[in-house]
C-alpha cells in the first residue's frame, strides 16, 4: 500500500515536469499561433495581439503566468497576482479557438473520445482475447496461421487505410452504418471497429504469447499430471497467467485510446479531442498543446498505476518494494 501511495504522490511533480517540458518544447518551433497568410493591418495591431496573450513577455514570465505564480503591478500601483494559471485550475484560452478556453474544449471533446475509447477497448479485448486463446491452443495448425495472419494484417495496415475501407464497404456500399459524425449508437460502430482493430491485433499477439509461455510452464504440467481436464487446465490455470502481458499493455493502450485517435476522428469526423493534439501542434496553439499533454500524462500515469495494482492482485508472486 505504501508503494502505491508513494507512486500517487510522485505523480504530481512528474506531471509538472512533463508539462514544463511541453511548455518550452512547443514554443521552440518556428512560427507563432497568429501567423497568417494575410499580414495584420499594422505593426501596432500585431503588437496588440501579442500583448493580449502575453506572447511579448519573456518565456520565464509566460511560464510563471501559466503556473499562476506571476505577480504584476495593477494600473492602480499595487502588486497583485495575475489571475488564472495552473494553481487556479485555469489552463488559459486557446490561442487558435479564441473564444474558448482550453478546459472548455477538452471538456466538450473528452466524453466523446472516452466513450469511443472504451468501446474500442471493449472491442479489442472481445476480439483479441478469444482469438489469442484460440491461436495459442491451435498453435502450429491452420487455425493458428489464419488467426495470426489476421491479427498481424490489422497491425500492419495503417489506420488511414482501414478506416476508409470500412466506410466504403459497410457504410457506402452496404449502407448498414452512417459514414461519420457522432450522436447515435449506430454511428459508433465503424469508428469503434476502426480504432479497436489494431489494438485487437496486439492483444491477440500478446495473449498468444502469454498462453504459449504459460502452457509450457511447470505448474501446467503438474495440473495435467494431476488429471485435470484440458479445458480446466486451459481456463483455470493457463489463462490467468496468460493475461498478464495484456494487463500490463492495457495501461498504455487505454491511454492511447482514451485521448482519441487522430486518424479515426479525422476520417469519421468525430468531435473528440484526438484531432486536437496534432492540429494544435501544427497551428502552434501553445496553451492547447500544454493542456492536452497534461491530460495525457495524468491519464497515462493513473492508468499505469491501476495496471500495476491489477498486476499485483492477479499474480501473488509479484512484489513491490
Amino acid at each position: 500500500m505504501n508503494y502505491f501511495l508513494r507512486r500517487l504522490l510522485f505523480m504530481l511533480p512528474l506531471t509538472l515536469v512533463i508539462v514544463t517540458l511541453a511548455f518550452f518544447l512547443v514554443r521552440v518551433a518556428p512560427g507563432g499561433p497568429f501567423d497568417r497568410e494575410r499580414k495584420p493591418a499594422s505593426p501596432a495591431v500585431e503588437r496588440a495581439l501579442a500583448e493580449k496573450y502575453h506572447l511579448d513577455e519573456s518565456l520565464i514570465s509566460q511560464y510563471l503566468r501559466f503556473l499562476g505564480l506571476k505577480w504584476e503591478r495593477t494600473p492602480g500601483g499595487s502588486l497583485r497576482r495575475a489571475p488564472g494559471g495552473l494553481v487556479a485550475g485555469d489552463l488559459g484560452l486557446s490561442l487558435k479557438y479564441r473564444n474558448h478556453t482550453v478546459t472548455d474544449i477538452i471538456l466538450q471533446g473528452l466524453p466523446v473520445s472516452l466513450t469511443l475509447g472504451f468501446l474500442a477497448f471493449g472491442f479489442a479485448l472481445a476480439m483479441g482475447l478469444p482469438l489469442g486463446f484460440y491461436t495459442a491452443v491451435r498453435r502450429g495448425h491452420w487455425g493458428d496461421w489464419i488467426g495470426s495472419l489476421f491479427a498481424l494484417l490489422v497491425i500492419c495496415i495503417p489506420g488511414f487505410v482501414i478506416g476508409p475501407l470500412l466506410i466504403l464497404g459497410f457504410a457506402l456500399k452496404a449502407g448498414w452504418f452512417p459514414v461519420g459524425l457522432w450522436g447515435a449508437p449506430l454511428q459508433a460502430v465503424l469508428p469503434m471497429v476502426a480504432l479497436g482493430l489494431y489494438f485487437g491485433g496486439r492483444v491477440t499477439r500478446l495473449t498468444r504469447e502469454g498462453m504459449t509461455q504459460a502452457l509450457q510452464s511447470e505448474y501446467i504440467r503438474t495440473a495435467r499430471a494431476k488429471g485435470a481436464s484440458e479445458l480446466q487446465v486451459l481456463l483455470k490455470h493457463a489463462l490467468p497467467t496468460a493475461v498478464m502481458p495484456v494487463v500490463s499493455y492495457s495501461g498504455p493502450m487505454l491511454a492511447d485510446l482514451l485521448t482519441g485517435s487522430f486518424v479515426v476522428e479525422n476520417i469519421f469526423q468525430i468531435p473528440g479531442i484526438g484531432v486536437f493534439m496534432v492540429n494544435s501542434s501544427l497551428s502552434r496553439d501553445y496553451t492547447m498543446v500544454v493542456g492536452l499533454v497534461m491530460l495525457y500524462a495524468v491519464l497515462l500515469l493513473v492508468l499505469n498505476l491501476l495496471v500495476d495494482l491489477a498486476y499485483s492482485l492477479l499474480d501473488p508472486r509479484v512484489r513491490y518494494e
Binding site: 512533463i18 521552440v28 518556428p30 500492419c156 487505410v161 509450457q216 500490463s248 509479484v318 513491490y320
Partner: protein, 320 residues
Amino acid sequence: MSESKLPQNGPSMVSSISVEAVHLSPNQKTWRRLCANRPALISAAFIALVMLLAIGVPLLSPHDAVHGSDSQFAPPSLAHWFGTDVHGRDVFTRVFAGARISLLVGAVGTVVSLIIGVCWGMIAGYVGGRTDNFMMRFVDILYALPSIVFVIVLITTLEGFVKQWITAISPALAPAGRMMFLFVGLGAVSWLTMARIVRGQVLSLRSRPFVLASQSLGASNRRILFHHILPNVIGIVIVYLTLTVPAIILYESFLSYLGLGIQPPAASLGTLIAEGAAQINPLRVFWWLIVGPGCVLALTLLALNFLGDGLRDAFDPRSS
C-alpha cells in the same frame, strides 16, 4: 512498464535435447531452432527478396521513379506493371524505390533507437540505485509526452538548421537532409521501450552467478558489461529490432499522411500509401495506386513480424 518482476526463465531443461545437441553453444541451438521454423524462414527469404528488388528495380527499370511522362493514371499493363500515377510515373519503380527508403528509414531509425536504448538500459540496469532511478524516471517522463508533439517540433525546428549544416558539408547530400533527419527523429522517439526492456534484462542478469564470479575475479565494469552482459542481452534486442522496424515504418507513414514525411519527389512506401488512401472513395478508384504499394508494405511488415516471432521462439530455450 512497471517495476514488477515478470516470471523469469526457469532452469534450463535437459529432457528434450538430444545427446548430440548438448555439445552445441546456445547461439548454435538458437540458429537450429530458427531454421526449423518454417514461417520465419519464408519471411526471411521474402525480406531478402524485397531488399533485392528495392536495390535492383530502381537501377534496372527503364522507367524513372522521379520523372514523369504523359500517360497519366494508366492502369497496369505490360509497359507499367503497377500502372502510372498523376505525373505519369511508373508505380512499380516508385514502389520499390519507396521500399528502399522505407527499409532504410526503418533500419537506421531502429539502429539509432538501439544504440541509445541499449546503452541507456545497460547503464541503468547495471549501475542500479539512484542512477537507475533517475534514468528510468527520465524515460517515464518522455514516455508520457505524446510523441507527435515532439516529432513536429523536431522536424519543424531542427530541419532547416540541419539542412544548412549538411549543405555546408556537402551540397550533394542536401536532398538527403530531411530523410536523415527523419531517421534520427524516429529513432529518438522509439528508444524508450528498448531501454526499458534492456534494463529489465540487465537487472536480472546482474545477480547471476557468472557475473558475480566475474566481479569477484576483479574484472572491470566495462569488461563485464561488454563481455558478459551484452551477449546475453543481444538476443532480446534482436527480437525487438525486428519488431521496431515495422513500428517505425508505420509511424513514418502516419507522418506522411500528416504531410511531414519524406521530401518529394522521393517517396517511401508510407508516402505512396498516404497518397493512395485518397483512392478509397465511392466515385472513382484508381485501385493500382493503393493496391500495389499497400500489398508490398503489408507483406514486408508481415514478414518482419513473423521473423521477429521466429527469432523470439528461437532464443527461448523452452520452445520445443
